[in-house]
């Protein structure tokens, strides 16, 4: 069901890489974003990783 009212804000639930990417894109294209994170800081699982392949870049 789709209402006629459209609110120009979005809630993202989860502040890992995917949630942050969604939040950034939406904020950058003109929407007000609420980023809701369960823990005390955003970053998610990727922040726990040491390095990432294929370049062995630091995950931070």
């Amino acid at each position: 069901m789709l209402g006629t009212k459209k609110v120009g804000s979005v809630m993202i639930v989860g502040g890992g890489v995917t949630g942050m990417q969604a939040a950034l894109d939406l904020a950058d294209s003109g929407y007000y974003v609420y980023l809701v994170e369960k823990s005390g800081a955003i970053g998610g699982a990727m922040a726990q990783l040491d390095k990432t392949f294929p370049t062995n870049d630091c995950s931070m």
Binding site: V7, I12, T18, D25, Y34, S39, D50, T52
Partner: protein, 938 residues
């Protein structure tokens, strides 16, 4: 909103009311400046979640060193004071900022939003309960996430790989794959977690880098390295790093003796029972949906799959069963970082499609007072020296730095702050700038990397140009690294302040550059990816030019019948084509290609040439390359000479048409990896394993009496596709593994085809006489991809697929601003991944197109016409192709021109120029020279 959870979702798409529960942090985030004094004093230690229990944290803690927000929190489950009022409370005593609040309470928020994106992620499978691996009883059995922490410089051992049982260096490490994946008996997770093969290889390679001579062995069933560049990484791990790979499933780990050695017994491919000992066993744990996410799914009222992942369609991979609620990341199936990032952007595109009418309604641009003109004014410099709690003041004699700064030329005001970055100090600095009529500012504190934007805003708020501030990093470069030498550190702080003052004296007001944007997009390629991108952007309200090389929309999907989850491809493609054709905002150019390109981000001009030679110039702000791939035509297995040897796409057509010699056939052999994963084509085509398994299932279902064989190297039915592999085995499809050095041989045998292959289970050659051989052929890049790439200055990789800007974090962006990539043009992938990538490309393009102009940093290369003699040395060194050589307007020789939109202000041109003909604003020769002289002056 941190420490927050969604507990209620009411309303409908476009207008939801969400209830969010915010748990108390017990630390006031406006006051906490993350000095760390509280953690130092806190007496309570518990396992750190961040370190996956390999290390400890205190009851008051920050999640990790680089956490955002960098604010402390108290864990109510371990805090002594919160459990027993009146006890402990050390943190409150030492907190100079007065940020501790033991009376903090839970808060409920009602939030009105138009759409919701669920991105709650996954949890790693906990191998404790299964028991068989010795996890939890033998300390030398750890999970891959724990190894990740041991290997990290910020981890518990600062990157030293040790045996947890005795702290001795590890010499021999085994990785066990599929722990908590592809296993319904022990863990109930029948699916493949998709990411573990690759992360195990990475960890093995990095562990070997950390410990020279380390032996690493990976025990696996199938190596599923199906992503871009993954097979190359696998080959390097095998051949260059010397990681050992053993194909077998190890079912248990036993502790040998008191030392904690790990004994593995397994049956190798020759059928021999072997026993090996290891210092450390790493369990490659799978991904699963945590309990709290199942509750969230219930709250949001969305449907889940049998494996407890969010149910989505292959043609709408981020749309849940409830309109207005979208997903991205591992909630909709296990996936790696690039695919998660892609889906993040894809979800944004899907939201934008829904909410486009309300775009910009709730956002506002911050407003600042009119900027003061300082032209002709004598410098009046203000210096603010930060204590950073005890971070700086604990080492550096800040009072003496303050007194010293006051003696420097043009410095008219000096002040010390406990925390220069805190909100009240910001307000105070603004006030001082106005009161004291300051026109240059030096902040002696921390790093400009994190704090310069903040201080620039402070200057703007005071009506001063934001570029008139300079930071002296007396923390990271000084107090932190010279903690043992306070006297030396104080002297160095003075040097740094003197240098900053010297540089800012010659600072100028700089204006950010504004570049107008043509709010239109050009999409090249009319396949599923291109059409999806075009349609999404059009529905967001942007005009789109869609260029298709042939006379038909649909691309490679026109040859496909079903997605892996069974959706009918022709129906969905027809719908997509219909929507594209009907959309008034999409202008379709059929039988056309891009022949020339000019311009840059926001202002491209592409020439589109049709088959009959007509040209049209399209102006566009952004561009998406979705030109697809091509099926490989086999050159082996006698494909040319035996008519009963066909490709999988040819087989699909014969099967659908119920061709007599297929319908009556009894024996079928599928050969995998034809044209993939060998020689110059060391990449996996990603879709062929699933395709063959699906065809095999269809054959068996039609007639269970048939014999169907699949000859494979590694079965790569990743993610939830694993259920198809399982179903095929159940139906009696025979899977035979072959190695690259023992490829099957195909020959004609009368009316039949003979296939010879070495059977690893029976340990003898096998000859199968069959009616039909089906070759699972590779996906190749378009032969003309690099030509198109050159026009837009975007690169292709070694295999000929387009190369994204960053493999992990910018998977659809090109390094050329304003250009994006989607679909097979980037790498072979199934439909749902193409669609997600196409939506992601639209989202990235929309971040540009939703603005009328883009504001660029003022730190840009600037030509000095008096000195530039057009030698063009700088043209070659510029990594961004921002400099071009042009005729001087007066007609006397050449001069360089900088495209400010492309310039990143790196300064290579300035360093190369022998004649001071080009400089970077904010880093003029005068500024740098003053700074260097100040450094040398004592």
């Amino acid at each position: 909103m941190t420490l927050s959870e969604v507990v209620g979702v009411d309303g409908i798409a476009g207008d939801f009311n969400v209830t969010v529960k915010e748990s108390p942090r017990y630390v006031d985030v406006d006051k906490c400046i993350a000095c760390g004094a509280c953690t130092e004093k806190c007496p309570k230690k518990v396992d750190s979640e961040y370190d996956a229990a390999t290390g400890k944290r205190k009851a008051i803690y920050v999640k990790y060193a680089q956490a955002v927000p960098l604010k402390y929190q108290i864990d109510p489950n371990s805090c002594i004071r919160l459990k027993k009022p009146g006890a402990c409370g050390f943190c409150e005593t030492v907190c100079d900022a007065g940020a501790i609040n033991f009376n903090d309470t839970e808060k409920m928020h009602q939030i009105n939003v138009g759409a919701i994106v669920l991105a709650p992620g996954f949890e790693a499978y906990d191998p404790t309960e299964a028991g068989v691996w010795g996890f939890g009883t033998n300390p030398n059995v750890i999970t891959a996430l724990q190894l990740e922490r041991y290997l990290s410089a910020s981890g518990p051992t600062e990157g030293h790989l040790i045996r947890p049982s005795d702290g001795k260096p590890a010499r021999k490490v085994a990785f066990l794959q599929c722990v908590g994946s592809r296993d319904e008996n022990l863990c109930g997770n029948g699916y493949c977690s998709s990411v573990c093969c690759m992360y195990a290889i990475k960890e093995a390679v990095i562990a070997k880098d950390h410990v020279p001579g380390l032996q690493t062995t990976i025990f696996y069933m199938d190596m599923r390295t199906h992503g871009k560049e993954f097979d190359l990484y696998l080959e390097r791990a095998k051949n260059d790093s010397g990681v050992r790979f053993v194909r077998c499933r190890v079912n248990g780990v036993e502790t040998d003796g008191v030392g904690g050695d790990c004994r593995l017994s397994y049956v190798n491919e020759d059928g021999r029972q072997l026993e090996e000992f290891y210092d450390l066993v790493v369990l490659s744990v799978g991904l699963q949906t945590p309990k709290h996410v199942l509750e969230l799914a219930k709250t949001a009222d969305i449907k889940l799959t049998a494996a407890n992942f969010a149910a989505t369609s292959d043609f709408a991979p981020v749309q849940t069963s409830r309109e207005g609620i979208f997903t991205c990341g591992a909630i909709a199936g296990p996936k790696d970082i690039p695919q998660s990032v892609v889906e993040g952007s894809a979800a944004a595109a899907a939201v934008s499609d829904l909410l486009a009418p309300a775009r910009h309604e709730l956002t506002s641009e911050p407003s600042f007072p009119t900027e003061k003109d300082i032209t002709g004014e004598e410098p009046r410099i203000g210096v603010f020296v930060c204590h950073c709690g005890s971070n700086i003041a604990g080492v550096v004699d800040v009072k003496s730095v303050e007194d010293y700064a006051a003696t420097l030329p043009d410095v008219v005001y000096v002040e010390r702050n406990l925390f220069s970055c805190s909100q009240d100090t910001q307000d105070m600095i603004t006030k001082r700038i106005q009161e004291q009529n300051l026109n240059r500012i030096v902040i002696a504190a921390c790093t400009p990397r994190t704090h310069e934007p903040l201080f620039r805003e402070t200057l703007k708020a005071a009506g001063l140009n934001e570029y008139l501030v300079e930071m002296a990093n007396i923390r990271n470069h000084d107090s932190w690294v010279h903690v043992q030498d306070p006297k030396g550190a104080t002297a160095k702080a003075k040097d740094l302040v003197r240098m900053a003052v010297a540089k800012v004296t010659y600072g100028d007001s700089l204006r950010p550059i504004s570049v107008p944007i043509t709010q239109k997009c050009l999409v090249i390629g009319g396949g599923v990816a291109g059409m999806t991108s075009a349609l999404n952007l059009a529905e967001q309200g942007f005009e789109v030019d869609l260029v298709e090389q042939t006379d038909t929309l649909g691309g490679n999907a026109l040859h496909l019948k079903h997605t892996w989850s069974g959706e009918h491809v022709p129906t969905q493609v027809a719908k997509l084509v219909d929507k594209v054709m009907r959309n008034e905002k999409i202008l379709l150019h059929k039988e056309a290609r891009v022949s020339a390109v000019e311009g840059f981000v926001g202002n491209f001009r592409s020439t589109v040439t049709t088959k009959d030679g007509k040209t049209k110039v399209v102006e566009h702000g952004a561009g998406i390359i979705a030109t697809g791939g091509e099926p490989f035509t086999p050159t082996e297995y006698n494909y040319d000479s035996i008519t009963r040897v066909v490709t999988s796409v040819q087989f699909d057509k014969l099967f659908e048409l119920k061709e007599q010699h297929v319908k009556s056939a009894r024996r079928f052999v599928f050969i995998q990896c034809v044209g993939s994963r060998e020689g110059d084509n060391m990449y996996c085509s990603k879709v062929c394993c699933t395709h063959s398994v699906q065809s095999a299932i269809a054959l068996k279902k039609e007639n269970p009496e048939r014999n169907v064989y699949i000859l494979y190297r590694d079965m790569r039915t990743y993610g939830q596709r694993e259920s198809l592999y399982k179903q095929a085995r159940k139906l009696g499809v025979v899977f035979i593994n072959y190695e690259l050095h023992g490829k099957p041989k195909v020959s004609e045998a009368g009316n039949m085809v003979a296939v010879e292959v070495w059977d690893h289970v029976l340990h003898r050659p096998l000859k199968i006489e069959c009616d039909l051989v089906i070759l699972a052929t590779a996906v190749r890049p378009k032969v003309d991809a690099s030509d198109l790439g050159k026009l837009y200055k975007v690169p292709v990789d070694g295999h000929g697929f387009f190369q994204e800007a960053h493999a992990k974090l910018r998977p659809v962006d090109f390094s050329t601003d304003g250009m994006f990539v989607a679909g097979l043009a980037h790498y072979p992938k199934p439909i749902e991944e193409s669609v997600a990538q196409a939506l992601a490309a639209s989202s990235r393009a929309a971040t540009l197109l939703s603005k009328t102009s883009v504001s660029l940093d003022a730190i840009k290369a600037t030509v000095d016409e008096n000195y530039c003699d057009g030698c063009a040395l700088c043209v070659d060194v510029c990594p961004y192709h921002a400099i071009s050589l042009v005729d001087r307007p007066e007609g006397n020789g050449k001069i360089i021109r900088v495209n400010k939109a492309q310039c990143k202000g790196c300064g290579l041109c300035q360093g190369t120029c022998p004649k001071r003909g080009v400089f970077v604003a904010g880093f003029t020769m005068q500024q740098i020279s003053a700074q260097v002289q100040a450094a040398l002056a004592v």
